[in-house]
Structure formats: C-alpha cells, structure tokens
Symmetry: D2
Amino acid sequence: MHQPHFGSDNASGIAPEVIDALARSSAGGVDSYGGDELTLALEEKFGEIFETDVSVLPVGTGTIANALSLAFLTPPWGAIFCYEEAHIVVDEANAPEFFTGGAKLIGLEGDHGRLHPDVLRRAAASMDANDVHHPRPSTLSITQASECGTLYSPDNIRALGDTARDLGLAVHMDGARFANAVVALQCRPADMTWRAGVDVLSFGATKNGCMAAEAIVVFGDRRKDVPVLRRHHKRAGQLFSKMRFLSAQLDAYLDSGNWLKWARNANTQATRLADGLNNIEGVRLLHPVDVNEIFLEMPLTIYERIKRTGFGFYPIQFTGKDIGTLRLVTSFNTSPDDIDYLLVAATTA
Amino acid sequence: MHQPHFGSDNASGIAPEVIDALARSSAGGVDSYGGDELTLALEEKFGEIFETDVSVLPVGTGTIANALSLAFLTPPWGAIFCYEEAHIVVDEANAPEFFTGGAKLIGLEGDHGRLHPDVLRRAAASMDANDVHHPRPSTLSITQASECGTLYSPDNIRALGDTARDLGLAVHMDGARFANAVVALQCRPADMTWRAGVDVLSFGATKNGCMAAEAIVVFGDRRKDVPVLRRHHKRAGQLFSKMRFLSAQLDAYLDSGNWLKWARNANTQATRLADGLNNIEGVRLLHPVDVNEIFLEMPLTIYERIKRTGFGFYPIQFTGKDIGTLRLVTSFNTSPDDIDYLLVAATTA
Amino acid sequence: MHQPHFGSDNASGIAPEVIDALARSSAGGVDSYGGDELTLALEEKFGEIFETDVSVLPVGTGTIANALSLAFLTPPWGAIFCYEEAHIVVDEANAPEFFTGGAKLIGLEGDHGRLHPDVLRRAAASMDANDVHHPRPSTLSITQASECGTLYSPDNIRALGDTARDLGLAVHMDGARFANAVVALQCRPADMTWRAGVDVLSFGATKNGCMAAEAIVVFGDRRKDVPVLRRHHKRAGQLFSKMRFLSAQLDAYLDSGNWLKWARNANTQATRLADGLNNIEGVRLLHPVDVNEIFLEMPLTIYERIKRTGFGFYPIQFTGKDIGTLRLVTSFNTSPDDIDYLLVAATTA
Amino acid sequence: MHQPHFGSDNASGIAPEVIDALARSSAGGVDSYGGDELTLALEEKFGEIFETDVSVLPVGTGTIANALSLAFLTPPWGAIFCYEEAHIVVDEANAPEFFTGGAKLIGLEGDHGRLHPDVLRRAAASMDANDVHHPRPSTLSITQASECGTLYSPDNIRALGDTARDLGLAVHMDGARFANAVVALQCRPADMTWRAGVDVLSFGATKNGCMAAEAIVVFGDRRKDVPVLRRHHKRAGQLFSKMRFLSAQLDAYLDSGNWLKWARNANTQATRLADGLNNIEGVRLLHPVDVNEIFLEMPLTIYERIKRTGFGFYPIQFTGKDIGTLRLVTSFNTSPDDIDYLLVAATTA
C-alpha cells in the first residue's frame, strides 16, 4: 500500500537498490565483525567521495554516531558548543553526556539553526581552558543541514572552523541530512567538511533511503587516534557481527550517485510543497526551506484538511486556539503526485 | 558464490524469509522510532512464544542486549556473577561495566561453561550485601547455550534461579543461541526462562538467520520498571528511527517456526560434523556438542586439510608445535553436503 | 601573621573552636568509617537544628556534596534546572554530569542569581517528561545564598518548591553559605529548606570556620532511599576512615550557635565594607549585598590602592582599560579593623 | 580516655604534631584551592623523599587515591591486574570501575597477598591487546604492604615492574601502609617505587597519624600527563578549598622523619604482639607479620579474654563453633604497655 508520511524522512522505507544490495551480499560466509570485503572497501569508497584519506566506522543510528563522535573528540571535563535546539541537546536522551563520560553541552543562539563565529567566540571566552574548575572548551558541533532545515555555506563552515581552531576546539558535524545539503549547495563534500575544518562527520544515510546505517567519518590528523574510537565503537555495541550488511547499505547508497539522486528528489519535492503551501492564506514559513524540511505555522483548518489525505503527519503543536506549528519532511521516494494531492487537499474546503 | 564459513554462525548471511520481510515491510510511510505496527505487535508475538506477558525491546547487537539488560538489573555498585569465560567478561570490551556505570563482573568456575549453584552461593557469601564497602551481590548472568556449546537443562536453570532468588540476585540469560537451546532440549521457551527464574533474556536472532536483530525480553515483576529500560535503550542509541525493520526481522524469525527450523538445522549439522571429526585419529572434542558449536583439539595436518576446502575458518590456536584448538560453528543454512565435503577433506591426505 | 584575604571565605583558616574539637576527639581508638559516637550523634544534632528527622552524610568538599546530592535525585537521563552561572554549572569541572552518569544541566536566567518559578515552568514545559528522546525534567537546584550573594526569602523558596513539585521535580539546595543566609533572613533553617519543599541540602561549613567538612542533609520522604546515597558516598571515596574528624568539625560548628555567630560576623563586616566602598567615586555595587559577598565594579586606581594593604585579593577582571569587576568576601574571622584599614586605603591616594 | 583499638590503624587518632600543624597553618588568609605556600612546597618535599622530581596531588581518602590513580593510568576498556582480595577489588564499592569509566579488575592468585610475575604474564597473555573485543591489558596494581600484611622486596617489585613494562602495562602501587613498608624493609622509598617501575603511588598517611590526607604521587614520564590527572582530581571533588590543611598534614607527616618514626612504632608493637600471641596454645598466624597487621586464627576463648581488656576489636569471623579468624592492627601510638596488658589478658583465664 502506498502511504507517504510527511512527519519525518525516518518514516520512509528502504530504497529498492539497498534491499537488493542486502540480498546480494548475503550469499556465502564471510568473516564477521567487519572482516568482510564490503567493510574493508568502505574507506576507499568514502575516500573517493571526500577526495582524501578517511577512516570510516559504520553504526546503526544517528544518535550513536553523534555520541561516539563527541566522545572521541571531547574529554569528560570538556564543553561542547552547539545550537541550543540541536538534536544532541534535545533529542538524544543525554547520550552525548553518557558516552563522553560527562561532558557539558553548551547551547548557543542561532540564526535559523545556524551558529555564528562571534557567538561561539564569546561562549568559549567565558571559560578559562587552563582552569581546572571550569569545563574545558573542547568541541564545536554543527548540524548540516541544520535542525531548522537551513544550510551553512562552505564559507560559513570555514569561518566557524577557523574560529574553532583558534579556540583550540575540535569540530564535529552532525550530517543526518548531509546528502540533502550537498545537492542543495552543489558543492563538493570535501568543501563543507575537512577543507572547512571539520574533524569528524556523522554521515547520515538512514533517512535518505537506507534501513539502518550511518557512518562516522574521521578526517586528517584525528585519524591517528582512530584506534581509540574503535574501542568506543565496540564498547557501545556498535561492532555488528554481520557488519557486512551495514556496509552493503552504505555501499549501495554511495553507488552510482544514488545518495545524491535520492536527496535531490527529497529537496525538489520539499520546494514544491513549500511553494504550494506558502501561497495559502494563513500559512507561514518559519524558516527558509533549504533542503527537505518545512517548518510552518498553519491554521488548524488547513491541518485538518491535509490530514484527510490519509498521509502520515505528526501532531500539530498548538500555539493558539486555532493555529499551530508543524514540520513536514519529504523523502527520497516522495513523488510529485503526492505533493500535488496534498496541495489540492490543503486548498479544498 | 556458495562458500560456507565455519568460524562462526555470525559469518552466515540472512535467511531469504528475512530479506523478503524487509522488502515487504518497506512499503509506505510509518511512524518512526517504534510507532509502527510491526513493532507494536512484537510483544504479543513474543508473549505467545513465552506463554506470558512480556516486554520486548529490539536492539542491534548481542553486546548491547547484554549490556542494557545488565544495566537494567544491576546498580553501579553491584556485582554480576557469571562464568569466568563468559562473553560479557572476555568479548565485550567492558561494555557491561560501562553501561551499568561501573558494576563488577565476578567470573566463576564452570563445568564446560555451566555454573553450579554451590559455586554461586560461595561467591555471593564472600560479600556482605549490606556493607557499603563491598560490591553488592546483584545479578546472576548465565549463557544458554553456554560459551562452551553446552546446555543447562531447565532443572539446572531452576536450581540456579532458586539460589539467585535466595541470595537476592536478579537473573539474566544471554541467549545468543537461544533457539539452538530450545530445539536441542525440546523444551518450552518458558521452561528455561521465566518459569525457571529468569528475569531478563537477551534473545538472539542475528546468528540464526537475521541480519542485525536481537531482543531484550523482560519477564514478570521486572516489567513494571521497563520505562527505565526504555531510557537506557534510547540513550544507548538503540531506538532505531526505522525500527520497523528490526521488528520485521524478528517477526519473520518467529513466523511459522522459522527460528526453530533454522536452529534445528544448525544443530543437526553440528552433530554430523562432530561425529565425523571425532572418528579421526588425533582429533578430540573439548566439550560436549549440545548445540551448533564444536570445540576441538586437532593436529595441524587435519587443520590444513580442511582449509583446502576453501571454506571459511578462523585461525587454529596452537597448543603445541603441530597441534591446536579450533572452534567450528554451523549455521541455519549449513548443508549436509557442506559437512560431508569437509569430512572427506579432513580424512584425505 | 595576620593577613586577611578578601578573595574568598575559603581563604580563611579554621576557627579555634574547631581545632580544639579535632584535638579533643583524637583521644582513644574508635570504630572507623563512621562507627564512632560523634558521627552516630550527628543526625540527632542536625535534627534539632532542622526540627525534623534528617539523614546526614558528612563529605569533604562542596563540589562533592553537590554532585552526590544531584546523583541521588537525578537519573542519568534527567535534566537539572539551575541558574545559568550556578557553581554546579561553571565551577565544578562537570562533576555533576559525571556523578549523575550524564544528566544535563539546564542553565536558566536569574534575577541577581535567583530563579523565578515562571522561568522554571517554561524550561520544564519545553521537554516532555514521558518522551524517551528528551532529557527528563528531574531536579531543581537552587543556591542559598545565591552565586550573586543575594537571598531567596523563605516565600521565594516555597514558591519554587511548589512549582517543582507540580512539575515532578526534586529540589536540591546548594547551601555553601547556608549559615550566612539563615542569620541574614533571621529565619528558621526549616523554613528555608524542607518546609519550603527542599529535598536535599548541601550544608556548607568549610567556608564559615571549618577545615574541610560539609554535610549532605536529606529530608522527608527521600530519606527512605538514603541507603542508595550511602553507596554513592562510599563509591565516591567520601566514607572517610577517620570519619570522626569530619563529624567533630560539624559538631563544633553547630555547638553553642557557633555557626550562626560566625556567619553573623561575616555578614556584618560585608555590610560595613560594602557601605564604605559604595561611597567612593567610581565604585558601583553589581548586586545587592545580602550576606558576605560583594560584587563590585571599580576603577583600577581603587583596586591598586586596596592591594597596597597587603591583604589578599584575587585579580580584577578588566571590563575596560582602567576599570574592572571584583568580588570581595568576608569571613567568620574578619575584624572591623580589617575593614576600616581597607576603607582608609581605598580612599587614600 | 585512653582506649586503644586493635581493629584497624584507622581507629587511631591524630598525632599531636599533625594537630599542631593544623593550628599553626590556620593563621592568616591564603589563596584557596592549593594556591597556598604549603601546597606549592609539597612537590619539593616529596621530591626529596623520593630522590627525583614528582607530581603530588593531595586527596582525602585512600579509596579516592586509588580510584583516581587507576583512572589516570587505565582507559575505560582497559584491564587492571591485581591480587584477588585487593582492597580495590573487595572494599571500594566499585570506585575503580566508576572513576575509570568501566575498566575491568582482574583478580589474580597471590602468595600471602603478593603477586608473582608469572601469574601476571599468564593473565595478560589471555587477552589480545589489539583485539577490540577484549579488555585491553593496561595496568598492574600492587599493594605495599600487601592486604595480608606482607611485603614485596624491592627486587620483587622490580621483577613485576619489568614484566609489566614488557606487557605494556602501567604500574600502580597502593601504599596505604607505605611508611610501614619502608621502615620494615629499611630501603629507600625510591627503590620500591619508581626505580622498580612504579608509575603512580597512592601514598597513605591517614592510617599512620594524619587525620585525612593521602597523596597521589606521579613519577617519571607519566608526569607529562598530570594536567589530565588534575581534571580527574577536581571533577572528583578532591580539590579542597582549604587545601592548605591537607598539605599541612602531609608536611608535618614528612617533617623530621615523623612518618618513619610512627610506622616503626606500629611495626615494633605488632611484632611484640604477634610473638606473644603465637606462643598461646591454639593461636596460629595466618600470614607472616611483616608490618603492623596480624592475621590470626584463635579459639573463641582467647578472643573473649582479650575483649575483656575493654580495648577495641572488630568481630571475630567464625570458621568453626569455637574458633575463628581475626585481624589485629597496631598504630603509630600503640604503646608497649597496651601490648603487654593485652597479652596478659589473653593468657589469663
């Protein structure tokens, strides 16, 4: 049954190419715990995408990708600077604090979810890195695309990266929607990561067509410490015994530009949907729609109309008696027809 | 290409029924993070298997199933009693210590991997549960089938369970090869778990035909504390966004008795293989072969012969110049032909 | 040599009455680890002060008093609400995060260091206590006297306590300067603690005449869980072998109203000092002086003058070329002559 | 009132020289948190004792000295090898596991509490240091004097130290009764520590005349990582605000050879006591008496006789109906008259 769900890109299924890859890679016995050929080839594959040598550790969820990345970069007495509504702050049940052994997340004000170097600089300046009483400024974590569905340009990231290096901070990027950012910016993956100062990337794939596969990607000098990250990874229960099947997902994802093609569709449908809704009386966009997330204020009447499609939505967050806010997210397999059907419903009393 | 691997049942692929289930459940959008119908139906499905109400949390690996189960049952100042070579002691990179917040694992002597109530009683007696200086005796963890490939009978487990209750200990079972145990003992799952005093079970499925799916199963009174376990689970990065695909695996696994059928094959082929090898001059079984694991001492010459099959093996552990020990494991999809081919090779100079 | 230090009340020595108590209690052998009579009598002594049954655990420092109190009240996935510049946020090197196993501190805006119930309510409302993704609102921590040297009235605390109970939060009070608050408010200790909704108090004594002794005081229903707190306490290395000497300090501190007498002196001298400085051209009080802490803006010239006294000060924090901010703190043994000498210096070119 | 307590050297009071030091150092205001002169001079003082440059961090208890030392030397996925009945295993409520973030303690068989290099070598060999599944062999912890009251010779320690270095292990010494060991062996402190391969020492002082003062002493190359240890130390609540009073204790302890004089008395009285008891029918020494601890088997009748002295004892541990084991410990201030009085009682029906 076809039933799109606009509550999240997590609500979508698995791309057929990925299921095929699972079936194909299932033949025969292979060394477990990552000793298989697909896993061993991952770093080269990612290296081509990022135009540099990288270390890659597949994991099962975005929460653990973030938590292990932060634990790798941050001592227990460290401070992690991030947007005040970052996923790592509000949606991961203190996993970052747990895996770091107690680091402190410092939420900063953002511009539609994006941090500014000056805000970072001021926050870090309030702590003395050499004073054992204070949390030690250790890590900057940014989200690309951001939690508000907006984008940092490569120049924005480089400015943050330079500031971070200046302040002695490592840089983590939560790339849950990394592919959506790449296609929207039409930039090279390298330009918005290591060339801009990013040390470790949570590379998301699940939301964009995989089943359960993300990758921690480590760049540059930090690679020499990857043996420590491998211990974190195993101890977190992330060294899957049949690791080949996480690798098969990632392999199919990167193959033939699938990841970019799927993200491009999600972004395109989001624009189509945002444009359509934005023309409706009473509907207001809360943030620019840079990728595949749309944050809206809408009258309850409109919400009730779109619910009648039978499509999936999460509950509206009431901000008044007859009005509320809603997030809509498109996916790798959202079709233009779905959008048009939704838009017709929204405008039909 | 067909290439069986006898190093581990982890080396095997995914059962076709499971791949089909992944493909089938991929259609349409569903609520993420476990709000889907497959996940919501899991507890009823497991409840039928176990003939009682249970709580079920799917997770990605056996290590995390064990670590979260132990963290659920054990305070940070607690002691966990287990076999001295238990997987949780030697093969999980201190994950149990990490997730419990610092509990202490107390390794006990076993009889081919199985603990005896007297040994448990003596160990617990050495600590005063009311003395804040001491680790507090908190949890018994047993493995069924054991790390030596042997089995506890339901009576054995009940004797341990009674002793544990007497000592104020919770009981965890690491059931990485639970299906293999059920078919070998021809017993009801309930009889070797909650009816015998088990509070929490790490229910393994990955080794026996799934891709990456285990379940933490909670019985009886402990169920009232499951909200706490759900926090552990989320914080560990185990609340998969596309949870339906873990549930789909477990659903297909339990469907139509697949899990038992697959385990029965693995056990049968192990017996066939063990019997064959045991007749070879110089080969010696180190433990009884109760399920699908065979621990052997063998001359190097035999090892080199079986390697010539091209099948997968892990390295022999030398115990002398020309002799060593080896573990062979059969899988849900090991064929009698594979076994025969291997046995012929082993006896052909 | 007499040399007062206005940098902190921590810079002061030990009250002679406390040294006498150490010497007196040193005679003879007693059971270690708190089995001695002084320790066993502590709860009754504190019970009289607080007009109710209490549980009391002596500890060595304020940081550990706070960290263990918070670990007692807050699950690892919990959120702790506090003033954004609270000692537990900025000056304890992430000890609260460590001892809680990863709880998140949420810093809130305050009025000269004091929280308002509405701010608390809004912050808690942003998290769904039943959503495993979110940190769970768990604990309110307030500081009395506050980090700005101001006071909550008993009514203020009760309002916060009522709000906290409403929100399902436990209430912790950091009472590093509890005695100074009691004498300034002329209230009963009970009225600003358990009668106002406080569950656990970090009762400070070190700053006000002891050597190294604080107490965790547990009130009301939380007392039934104190056995768990005792495990935290031991595991943190806070069960001193010669515990009688922490208890002797606390006993002498509470004896004959010493604690109030000493705090009264500190407060009186702070008022005298604040009044004198406030009359000097260019000097400005940053916060009301409710107890023994004075936060000032002052010209560099004045700072250099007071430094010439030879008294102790911490460095001025420059806010401009010739101006900066400074904290001055008076102690149990600060004399009026010290104050007058300082004030003369401050006004003498 | 004079009432010796033979249950533990922890049952003793404070040496008058230490009380005098507390009183003397209390005059005037000084920088808090270790900025005072006594603390700043500690490293030079310890450096003279150990004939090399050392880093010194005062702490309040032996448990925390051990836990922080181990956390400094051991990663969370590490294994710590120690005697199976070591204090860190059985008497510290899992503090080492907690502060290390989950390291595993591996208890080894000993000869009257002392480890042998071969046992260490075998235990380490069972783990592959490069296999992320296994705990990583990281640290050796030995106790001098041992938990059985026996001593390693400097040569014994060097042999263990050499083995540890060979295996890539750091070496920690729990020196709760370090002074007793030094005087009994008549050796230089350097010879049984850094010259023999010890990296970090828990230097005990509390049991031997101080009130609450131990020191973590770091030797050699490990000193370059001491900034990390200082973070652990602060975060554990061990950076006392009035640190001068811990330093004053340690200063007085080391002054004029007090520490050795006091330990010598304890050892002498232990020998006197052990010799006297050993001549009594039915009494049997369980371990050699190398320092100030005596482990005995004795008939209940004898135990009841010595109890009649009114001196302090801990309960006898029954091993039969009329017989049990008992630990007796002498202290810095045990007098020969106390011993003689006890011995007369023991032999008087």
